[in-house]
Amino acid sequence: MERVLEDFVVAARTAGVRISISETLDAARAVKVVGYRDRALLKDALAVSLAKTAEEKIILEDCFERFFTFQFFTAASDRTGKDGDMPNLMQTESDLVRMLMEEDRAGLIAAMTEAARLENISQIRYFTQRSLFAMRLLGRMGAGGLDGQIQALRRIDTPAATTAAARLEGARAYLVDNVRNYVQNQYDLFARNEGDKRLESELRLVKLSNLEQRYFARIHNIIQRMVKRLNDLRSRRRKAARRGVLDFKRTLRENISYQGMLFAPCWKKKKIERPQIVVICDISRSVLRTVRFLLLFLYGLSQEVARIRTFVFCTNLVEVSDILGSSTVDEALTRIQGGTDIPLIMGRTDYERSFGDFRRDYLAAVTRKTTVLILGDARNNYNDPHPENLKVIYERCKRLIWLNPEVPAFWGAGDSEIRQYTPYCTTIKECNTLEHIERLINALVRR
């Protein structure tokens, strides 16, 4: 029975309940106490020892119902009743045939689950494996013998033998059908969410510009989770950083006024630094996707980031912090793109003019503590890049990070002016997948 519990734990984990080894041990002990006799009791015992939040309990209960289902081999109404003369015609040496003929449900289920155990059905991962597993299960249960028997009966060719063969064929179809259902059920239990997980890890690596619209909701989900993790991680560390060790130099300095008696100790403190961020985004078509996800990320980090000011540009540059502050990133971006209520010209991208605008109007937003994030491909339509505008910004800020959604091979090719801007950036990074964004944000809030 231990094996059953193990499989159940695997199924529950696939369904998204976090179960540790010690909890599995507890569950085993709990099950030993309550026994397998009472279904409701068993369910409660497992829920109490395995699931540790209200949501997990719901998932676990659902999983329990699907795992311990015995809805197989329910009576097939179209099959005729038992005939007395059947056993005479065929040698009932096979258990399978006997069980099928006598409609021994418990026996059939037991044989099937035993076969499944021997075939390690909990290892099923892909939906293409379903037929394979069904075949193997049937083999284990001795369906091969059944085929042989049917053929033998057909060869006899008497009316009685024909009906017997027909009945056996009916029984075989019934068996195959049930085994198929069972395998499907097991696949749902052990593998369905696995597929989701794989898709998610792939989505993290796929180019944002190639992403299909239908995955957006999923991506938002992933981002939310990443953001939560980052928030958790960082806020905890900050608390620990508050404790310090004796700062001897400062103690000496501070205590000079007490005639050098070491009277008031000073402790080393780590400065808690929440980054101030200025984001300058190119929102021409080529970059928009990346902008969207970057902003989603940044605005999720409200706990970590002190202040974000956002500027977008295409031909000219406009501040959109208030739009982003008041509505969700999605809505804000549609509003910005629609461009009805902001003076943004969506013509040819002009880096020279946009950085000039920034320098003229918003330079005060950049201080010694500010991190400037610029997101753009630096394709300036063969205009003069005027890097000195960027230089002024670079000299005022703490660091300037340029995120380029193009792969490095294309940097500097054609009308890309990224090489002209390179000297005035602290770092330049390629940024076109979720993974890139996450890494960047991680570096941003780490101090």
Binding site: V33, D44, A47, V48, K52, T53
Partner: protein
């Protein structure tokens, strides 16, 4: 040796009955959790909305087992000196005074410094020893001879550090007092932790506990609770009260009424000698089970409709 808990709670049904005897109506899942906790010697982490009887469960269990209930109310800033033990500083000071007076006799001046020190060493352990220790709830629970029910209430209100500190007690039923050593439980206490989920508890803590989630009760169970807690109430009034409350819980409220509020309301209705529910009566007594001004507005609008449904 069988512990007191196992002797008393021989099966899940006995737990149910015993709890019923002390006027606590539990469902089967709750009874089973208590039973399992006794068998596996594991703490129970009870979660659920406010007022569904999380604390009551611990109290009722203690009453059934006739064991002392030791309660530790958690709050922000709770530390081990308040939860585990503290030294009796006053007594220690007195002791030093005493020692000072007797010192001359003890180390009898004539012998040299070395022998005086040797003599003194024989006494030093007394200073940090049991007589000077003031046990706080956790230590008290470990020292009870017949076992006890330890209730750590609203663990989510305490700090992360305190939660980490609890881990040793919860898994091994022992604590470390640096000056004395490790103190093990004489008899392992039955531990209840309650949480209102104001913050997520750590995985480590959850892992060590059986997790019981108490939701709002179903109508039948709630009726039984009302009948048990407010014995004078008539059958049909209890029915109506419970129906009404169950419907109110379906509304979109800031705080939905819990069982304790249902009981309060039933008691109030008894004092007012109400026979059946009517809209005017409900409107007058609304503030018993609705605790927010906005919610009162929402419910007051629908009083007629809700009462009609409850009385039906």
């Amino acid at each position: 040796m069988k512990s007191r808990y196992e002797e008393q709670f021989v099966s899940i049904d006995t737990v149910l009955e015993n709890l019923r005897d002390v006027a606590y109506i539990a469902n089967r899942q709750m009874a089973m959790t208590v039973y399992l906790a006794c068998r596996l010697e594991k703490p129970i982490l009870v979660e659920g909305p406010a007022g569904v009887g999380k604390t009551e469960l611990a109290k009722a269990t203690a009453a059934c087992l006739q064991l002392p209930l030791i309660r530790l109310q958690c709050y922000e800033g709770l530390d081990e000196s308040k939860a585990l033990y503290e030294w009796k500083y006053g007594k220690q000071l007195l002791y030093t005074q005493l020692l000072k007076d007797k010192l001359d006799d003890i180390i009898s001046r004539k012998n040299g410094f070395k022998s005086a020190m040797d003599k003194l060493h024989q006494y030093d352990d007394i200073f940090f020893s049991w007589p000077f220790l003031e046990p706080r709830p956790l230590l008290k629970a470990l020292q009870e001879k017949d076992g006890s029910v330890l209730l750590i209430d609203e663990i989510d209100k305490s700090d992360d550090e305190f939660e980490a500190f609890l881990l040793e007690i919860l898994s091994d039923f022992q604590v470390s007092v640096p000056e004395i050593g490790t103190v093990e439980a004489v008899t392992k206490p039955l531990v209840f932790l309650t949480s209102n989920n104001t913050r997520e508890l750590s995985e480590a803590l959850k892992r060590r506990c059986l997790h019981l989630y108490i939701p709002f009760p179903e109508a039948a169970l709630e009726r039984e609770i009302i009948r048990r807690r407010v014995p004078d109430i008539s059958e049909h009034l209890a029915h109506q009260v419970v129906n009404f409350i169950q419907d109110v819980r379906k509304l979109d409220l800031k705080k939905v009424p819990s069982i304790s509020e249902t009981i309060d309301w039933a008691r109030v209705l008894m004092i007012l000698h109400a026979e059946i529910l009517n809209p005017a009566l409900v409107r007058d007594t609304l503030n018993i089970f609705i605790k927010f001004e906005d919610d009162v507005g929402v419910v007051a609008e629908k009083v007629h409709q809700l009462t009609a449904m409850a009385v039906k």
